[in-house]
């Protein structure tokens, strides 16, 4: 059973975070996921498909967005749902800004569940990806104890 709750002020916003993928990162991400799709490391092939350069992986966008959210809610919150949709391509070197906001909160047997809507935009404002997510905060965890980390 769930019951609607107020969104905790400390968790209401996912403050904007900038990420810029590099060619090295795109290569390493393909290697770490054993993804042989040429569009992520073969510039000639990417151009053959009509793109200006190799593309940032769909899942790497998802990592950027989920990291921004988890950095806001802290390790005591568990991500129970995460969905995203890529809307525009991005290439290494392009600046991407991730931000989001809580849209609902409800108490559940497991703790407070907070639902989010997020997006990742190019400098032009064009949306590269949209995302939706839910986290569950265990009762023992205070959102004030969260640790902010910077992307490495």
């Amino acid at each position: 059973m769930t019951e609607t709750e107020a969104i905790p002020a400390a968790l209401a916003e996912v403050a904007p975070v900038e990420r810029v993928a590099t060619h090295l990162q795109a290569f390493l991400f393909s290697a770490a996921t054993w993804n042989p799709h040429r569009i992520h490391y073969d510039r000639d092939y990417a151009r053959h498909e009509g793109h200006p350069d190799v593309l940032v992986q769909s899942h790497l966008h998802a990592c950027f967005i989920s990291q921004a959210l988890l950095n806001t809610v802290g390790d005591g919150a568990r991500l129970v749902r995460f969905g995203w949709q890529n809307r525009a391509i991005a290439c290494p070197g392009q600046r991407l800004v991730i931000s989001g906001r809580a849209v609902a909160a409800a108490s559940t047997g497991a703790g407070l569940r907070v639902d989010y809507e997020l997006d990742e935009r190019h400098e032009s404002g064009e949306v590269a990806a949209v995302a939706w997510a839910s986290v569950v905060l265990h009762a023992r965890t205070s959102p004030l104890t969260r640790t902010r980390r910077r992307p490495s």
């Binding site: 990420r19 990162q25 390493l28 991400f29 290697a31 770490a32 996921t33 054993w34 993804n35 042989p36 799709h37 040429r38 569009i39 073969d42 092939y45 498909e49 992986q57 769909s58 899942h59 790497l60 998802a62 990592c63 950027f64 989920s66 990291q67 988890l70 390790d75 005591g76 568990r78 991500l79 129970v80 749902r81 995460f82 969905g83 995203w84 949709q85 890529n86 990806a129 265990h138 965890t141 980390r149 910077r150 992307p151 490495s152």
Partner: protein, 173 residues
């Protein structure tokens, strides 16, 4: 305006339709912290709970856990196909390689993940990908196939740890 017919796409549609409701052969995947750590490194994620048991325990987990997007990002759990067995664009890994998509370009573009429980170091996963539906559509840039795939990641006791829904599109090359 109607889009011109695309025989290759129509043939692929006919090949895929009888497969609705079926899955490729289940694959096995062993997850370990080296892979978590490599994934986190590549994704620029410095959170220690993906490699350090003490940090993970501080967050309420029994041991290091997988980054949430990790398991559904992995394209291949085994060795993978020989290079000559991949499609021209390099794709054709085991999760979707069972689908008869030759001559088509498969484009992802997002997933919807239910993360039922954290995935722990050492877990042996069984991965099953079901083709739930395929629809022939006509977009502004021509016809395409819209696939509905549901992939489940199970522990040896049968518990589902992650459910992944996605709707890749396939176009002729």
């Amino acid at each position: 305006m109607t889009t011109p017919p695309d025989p290759a796409l129509a043939e692929a549609y006919e090949r895929l339709r009888p497969l609705i409701g079926t899955s490729g052969p289940p694959t096995r995947g062993h997850v370990d912290r080296r892979d978590f750590a490599r994934f986190a490194l590549a994704a620029g994620d410095p959170n220690p709970i993906y490699q350090d048991d003490v940090a993970a325990q501080g967050a309420g987990h029994p041991a290091a856990i997988a980054p949430p997007v990790f398991v559904s990002s992995v394209q291949e759990w085994g060795i993978g196909k020989p290079m000559a067995g991949l499609r021209a664009d390099g794709t054709g890994s085991e999760r979707t390689g069972w689908l008869p998509l030759d001559g088509l370009r498969l484009m992802g573009g997002g997933q919807d993940l239910e993360l039922h429980e954290p995935v722990l170091d050492g877990t042996e996963l069984t991965i099953t990908c079901v083709l739930e539906d395929v629809v022939l559509k006509h977009g502004r840039s021509g016809p395409f196939l819209l696939l509905s795939l549901v992939t489940t990641y199970r522990k040896p006791d049968g518990t589902v740890v992650v459910t992944c829904r996605e709707n890749p599109i396939a176009r002729t090359v």
